[in-house]
């Protein structure tokens, strides 16, 4: 797994490529904890290059989402590949997260 972070306006963007699972979760969890401590924190997780997610990875994203909500912020995910989208759909995480087709749409929603 590789993670890249950048900032667009006041949105913190995280790109995860490769397998996102128990073994690769710690740096992502650490980054999310840091960025979601600011008030009204807005976070976008771009999963375009993510090939696999397991339950620990999902738990990390859920924790990030809850932390964002606690500070009146928001966390969105975008650009899910089919197998990853299937996991979100099967486990109904599509009800918990705002999922966007691409970064542009996600940013529009986050910035409005």
């Amino acid at each position: 797994m590789e993670m890249k972070t950048r900032v667009a306006g006041d949105v913190n963007i995280l790109e995860i490529s490769g397998r996102f699972d128990t073994n690769t979760v710690p740096p992502v969890a650490a980054w999310l904890e840091q960025v979601t401590s600011a008030p009204k924190s807005r976070v976008l997780v771009n999963l375009a290059e993510t090939t696999f997610v397991d339950s620990t990875a999902l738990a990390t994203l859920v924790q990030g989402l809850k932390r964002c909500q606690q500070v009146q912020g928001d966390l969105c995910v975008c650009s899910l590949r089919r197998p990853v989208y299937m996991i979100f759909e099967l486990t109904r995480l599509d009800k918990a997260f705002n999922i966007f087709v691409d970064e542009e749409h996600a940013l529009q929603s986050l910035k409005s």
């Binding site: 128990t22 696999f52 738990a59 859920v62 924790q63 809850k66 197998p83 099967l90 486990t91």
Partner: protein, 507 residues
């Protein structure tokens, strides 16, 4: 020094004097600062010497030879030669003394290093070792203040130990350490050419890197040695650093062994919690053939399954997976299982939907605090009803294969327990006629990996279920474990694998 030489070589001085007297001199003597140290013959004060020649040390005149009653060029040359010879002896004597002193110091240092090793051996943590290191280093080198740092490679917090509280600002100590770290070399202050400024209150400073496992992981800084320091002190401090390096390596090895043992104990405990809580006997329920089994991974996850039976009540079963590994996952699994179990057992008219909603309410706050969630599936079967009522909170994979149709993946109807404050679970109904098959498994099956890093995947799981459908519940479960094992090709199981297989039977 000259006096020492005179007393140890008295006979030779006397021989020189005798030779002068034999040549016609009335007296011969050695003088320092105008006062006689020794003279021949006794009683002659050499008040009016006829020739004198200087004895030097490092080109400085420190004494002189005096002769009375004789003069001339020959006598002058001879006296000069005598003085030069004595000067040379003096120099040799001096070197000998220095060498002896060095030898004694080096013996002392070896003894101290041995003591240092003994002292440091008694300490069990890196923190204590650093404390001992600083104290012993100060005692051995006569520096007045010191610090030691350690930066573990496992991401734990760095350590800084000081001999006297706040002699160095923490920032200053770290700045000095990172300097030795990046140069992989000693730092000596004051040094006008170094980019490292001499901190306030520091007259002189020696900092050395400490190598651990092939890289700089620690360091020591010593300051304010009265009279400064030179090569012997630098050598000694390096030797102390080497001792510290060996000791830190030993300690890390010990710590790792300890951590591994602890992890093994924790995992054993978690595995016992998990296995002991699973139902020992599978219930027999009219109208269905059922089988369930769970296999914890080496790094135990949080899988569970459970059957709740009561006199005159429908059979309820649950299966779930708590995120995380080890003892914490086992603990949260116990909570989730108990929450579901007690609702299913004590609610007057339990339905899967009500059980799930209540359990989510019970667990939401705690789960949010620790940042986990649990996927769960709750099914309810009234014997003879030929239908299964279920609620699915974020659980996958769940596969249903009607006896006369293709297998399908059942999507959860709400998110997992602990994600949203209110569960949107709804009761769903499945037909359970003879041959209809329901398989609720955990992601330990679909996420199983082979040596090429490919996952077993849900598609393969669906095909497998389709293929196994004609068999009995027990045979289906056994074949599923076997197939996933074969796919793994000897690779360690990454996650727990748990399943419940229910097949409609003729009642």
């Amino acid at each position: 020094m000259l006096v020492t030489l005179l007393s140890s070589q008295y006979k030779r001085f006397a021989a020189i004097a005798e030779a002068w007297l034999a040549q016609g001199a009335s007296a011969f003597g050695v003088f320092q600062d105008g006062r006689p140290l020794v003279y021949w013959p006794a009683g002659h004060r050499l008040a009016m010497p006829s020739i004198t020649a200087p004895i030097t040390k490092d080109d400085e005149e420190i004494a002189d030879l005096r002769v009375a009653g004789i003069s001339g060029m020959t006598a002058e040359i001879r006296l000069k030669a005598d003085a030069a010879m004595i000067s040379y002896m003096l120099q040799l004597e001096n070197e000998l003394q220095c060498m002896t002193a060095d030898l004694v110091t080096s013996q002392d240092q070896q003894l101290s290093l041995y003591r240092l090793t003994q002292t440091m051996r008694n300490h069990m943590s890196v923190d204590e070792t650093l404390q001992a290191l600083v104290i012993e280093a100060l005692r051995m080198t006569k520096f007045q203040a010191g610090f030691a740092v350690f930066v573990p490679s496992n991401g734990q917090g760095p350590l800084l130990i000081q001999s006297a509280e706040n002699f160095f600002d923490d920032d200053v100590a770290w700045q000095i350490y990172w300097h030795t770290f990046s140069h992989e070399h000693d730092a000596i202050l004051p040094d006008p050419e170094s980019e490292l400024p001499c901190p306030k209150g520091v007259e002189n400073l020696l900092a050395v890197p400490i190598w651990v496992r092939g890289g700089v992981m620690a360091g020591m800084g010593l300051a304010n040695r009265p009279g400064g320091f030179g090569t012997p002190e630098i050598k000694l401090v390096r030797a102390i650093a080497d001792q510290a390096s060996a000791q830190i390596e030993r300690m890390l090895l010990y710590q790792e062994m300890f951590d591994q043992a602890r992890l093994r104990t924790e995992m054993d405990l978690a595995r016992r919690v998990q296995l002991d809580l699973l139902p020992r006997h599978l219930p027999k329920v009219a109208g269905i053939d059922l089988y369930a089994s769970s296999r914890p991974a080496l790094q135990v996850g949080g899988d569970f399954f459970d059957f709740i039976l009561g006199e005159g009540r429908p059979m309820i079963f649950s299966l779930g997976d708590v995120t995380g590994k080890g003892l914490s996952a086992a603990l949260l699994m116990t909570m989730t299982r108990s929450a579901i179990h007690s609702k299913a057992q004590f609610m007057p008219f339990p339905t899967p939907e009500a059980v799930m909603r209540q359990s989510n309410e019970d667990l939401y706050n705690d789960f949010t605090r620790v940042g986990v969630f649990a996927t769960a599936f709750v099914g309810q079967y009234e014997p003879g009803s030929q239908q299964m009522i279920y609620a699915n909170a974020g659980h996958a994979p769940v596969i249903y294969r009607p006896f006369d149709g293709k297998p399908e993946l059942l999507r959860a109807d709400s998110t997992a327990i602990g994600i949203l404050p209110v569960s949107h679970c709804r009761d769903q109904t499945l037909r359970m006629h003879p041959g209809d098959l329901l398989i609720v498994a955990t992601d330990g099956f679909s996420d199983a990996r082979n040596p090429h890093d490919e996952t077993f995947d849900i598609e393969r799981l669906i095909d497998l279920v389709d293929h196994l459908a004609p068999r009995t519940a027990r045979e289906i479960a056994d074949a599923m474990f076997e197939t996933v094992d074969r796919f793994g090709g000897g690779r360690n199981q990454d996650d727990d694998q748990t399943l419940v297989v229910i097949k409609g039977a003729a009642s």
